[in-house]
Amino acid sequence: MSGGTRAAAEVDYQGLVLDYVRSPDQDAARPARHPVIVAGAGPVGLAAAIDLAQQGVPVVLLDDDDRLSTGSRAICFAKRTLEVFDRLGCGQRMVDKGVTWNRGKVFFRDAPVYAFDLLPESGHRRPAFINLQQYYVEGYLLDRARALPNLEIRWKNRVTALTQSADGVELGIETPEGEYRLRCDWLVAADGARSPIRGLLGQQSQGRSFRDRFLIADVRMEADFPAERWFWFDPPFHPNQSVLLHQQPDGVWRIDFQLGWDADPVAERQPDRVIPRVQALLGRETRFDLEWVSVYTFACLRMERFRHGRVLFAGDSAHGVSPFGARGANSGVQDAENLAWKLRLVVQGKAPEALLDSYDAERVFAADENILNSTRATDFITPKNEASRAFRDATLELAKECGFARRLVNSGRLSTPSTYRGSPLNTPDRDDFVGVMVPGAPAADAPVLIGGRDDWFLAQAGGDFTGVLFLGAEGMAEETAAALSALARGAVPVRPLLVLEPAPAGAAAREAGGIPALEDASGLLAARYDARPGTFYLLRPDQHVCARWRRFEPDLVRAALARATANA
């Protein structure tokens, strides 16, 4: 467990007021044109803007407000999202501040029925989850964004009009000093669940909502609960409903009470209602302060398509899920990372617009997976008729004695990244492989040695395409080194990375070609990738596998690269 202490000089991100600054664009005779505008400076918009900017695409990021997240809001950030933040240059800060956790426990009435470990194996840089208030996540992303000279943020800039033609988008922007117009080649709409841009385009997000209400009470207290996700069904302190308890940094605890559909959302927010509920859980003697209170309902829904010409929807604007499973902010950040490299290649003229259709295909697929998991959890937690309530209670009662029933208990299937199995960017396997690193899968991490020092595999991959060649004791032929170097100089470069067997077997290969190399000291990397000497993986800039072979053949790599960039 980490976190929990507050550095004296830490920024109060929740209280931060971000100044509106007049842009020269507001005085331009004709609307200024930018390659990419991102609307919405939440976690998704910030991640997209940072990713694009650090890949060399100038970005203007607009936000209609002048503050970061009010209240903790999203608190669970998943392993894959942390790996994205690592690539964006702020992962370590998140993990240092956050509360690391891997375990969840489920209680029925007054007894534990089920515990799960979300990362049962070691050898990963990042844990299954950290808990961190959304305002810290946004604050750390903001600090990173401000360090990028080609990323400009404009606060109090609200998009109020939008017209789109074949070659660009024109926006009407409202500011405290009046309106102005802006043009862009591409617009990323990360403007949240109520997305004004979605409305301006006449589009809708559709799905279903559940007749239930939940109360979030974030409290500040000294407590010695472990850093685990605790979920109760029908506990004695909150009968007939569910409760979730979860630790955040700074001694803040998230308590989520199910209230039922008939609860009065205004009255339930009042301290005189909230405090007794919290006391029922913690005991009357526990001292605590209310940090943030919110009553919410939720829906599982999505837009039919995430690409509308030159407008690309990401995060809550494109899709919504119930909070059980932490699939909202996490999937939004993963949208941003999927989109950023594709948009970069299109903006740079290295890939056709059609590549952006794969953003729609892959992230609609991911959204459906998230909606499915979140709907199933909600159906379990919020039974929608008497029969489903009976099955839920039966499952929980049987779970005490029967292993099969524990597997059915669903308090939320927590966010894992999608494997884009059917993606048009994948080159199907020609050779035999076993394991989960199929084309479309997010690349697994493993500990490695670089120049004798401990490091991580994923820290060496991504940003560009990466070509990972596993070498045996015999090392690498000169023509292989030459072919790898040629791929690295291509229009869409493939950065080569050699994987050496543990020393001394790999010693012979260490000389080869001046190409970056790492040592698979534990053998875990080869095991996780089912790799043998000669195995070659092509990884996308977002660290998903797009092709693999038992032998490195440059022509096959070039063909797979063309396919993965819609240039085939």
């Binding site: 279903r208 007749r211 559909w261 929608k384 008729n385 009976a390 099955f391 209670d393 039966a394 029967c402």
Partner: protein, 76 residues
């Protein structure tokens, strides 16, 4: 293996008696819980999802829904 709907229980009347006896003196709510547990136990024993789906479809066949679930259409 498809769902077997031919006679498969040797002592059919004994089974039926036990099934009725299972619910003796229970309230409707208690019976619903017992039935739910029974279905879960048997479903796990069968294990084959194709068979289970076929059984579910057979159980529901011919019933015109006359209730409504607590689910609303959502639009944003």
């Amino acid at each position: 293996m498809p769902l077997n709907t031919e006679p498969n229980i040797a002592a059919a009347d004994d089974f039926y008696e036990a099934l009725v006896e299972l619910h003796r003196d229970l309230t409707p709510e208690q019976s619903r819980l017992v039935n739910a547990k029974l279905i879960l136990l048997l479903a796990n024993h069968i294990g084959d999802l194709a068979v289970l789906r076929e059984a579910m479809a057979t159980a529901r066949a011919g019933i015109t829904p006359a209730g409504s679930d607590a689910i609303l259409q959502a639009k944003a």
